[in-house]
């Protein structure tokens, strides 16, 4: 389960970075691209952090 969550988080960050740096944005979509790109990066990074923090704390509890 954790691996799936990690994979989805990485995919979200990756797609956010793609929109930010590689996608050729049409002039009319600059604002929405800015928002969606950063939204995905923030959500992806925070879910990665949550995943790491949560699994670390569960390991500590088990020990």
């Amino acid at each position: 389960m954790r691996q799936i969550f990690l994979f989805v988080s990485l995919a979200i960050v990756g797609f956010g970075l793609y929109l930010k740096f590689f996608y050729d944005v049409p002039d009319a979509q600059i604002t929405i691209n800015f928002f969606v790109g950063w939204f995905l990066i923030i959500v992806g990074v925070s879910s990665l952090l949550m995943n790491i923090v949560w699994s670390t704390s569960r390991k500590n509890k088990d020990e």
Binding site: D24, P26, D27, I30, T31, F34, F35, W38, F39, I42, V43, S46, L49, M50, V53, W54, S57
Partner: protein, 200 residues
Amino acid sequence: MNNRVIFIAIITIIALGGLTFYTFGPGSAGHTIPTVNPSSLKPSPVASSESSSTTVNAYHNRDFAENFYTIQFPQAWQIGLNHAGEYAFTFVSGNAKVETMDVPDNSTLELFVLSQDEPKLKSSLTEYKRVSYQKMQVNGNDAYQLTYTNTQNNIAYQTVRTYIAGPDKAGVITLSSDKNQSVQLAPVFSSIINSFRWEK
């Protein structure tokens, strides 16, 4: 639930709120709508050569990274208000405009001209009629030139619209004049088109 996870969730929600406010809130226009670089509006006079009877100004557009360009227009032409990446001019018998245009990644410039831009012109201009269409080269770049006529306030205009392929966007030069003046102005139009250069 772990306190640190809750802390990260709260920080994330605050960051998303901040992002929404920054993007769509008051004062957001400044960072999302491209602005005109002041240096783009400072023309540099070009020494007139003996072969040319018209004195020209060179405009160095620095509004969009990857899409810097230089173009020369007659000094006598009146520059109007312009948006980022473009210049508009008026002169006695017509008007001119140079702009950069986004060509979608899944299209070529020629396909874009014929399947999107020309139909748009057809539907927006009165009595649109294509005079000619040709492929050409402008300073080593592929270019497509569409010449058409239309009427506005019962006056017939002839327009030469040239699309020049570029590294990111395409440069589009639109030169319109009273149809009766088009032959006389052809050399001037041609020198404007040939002065267009992409710069790094």
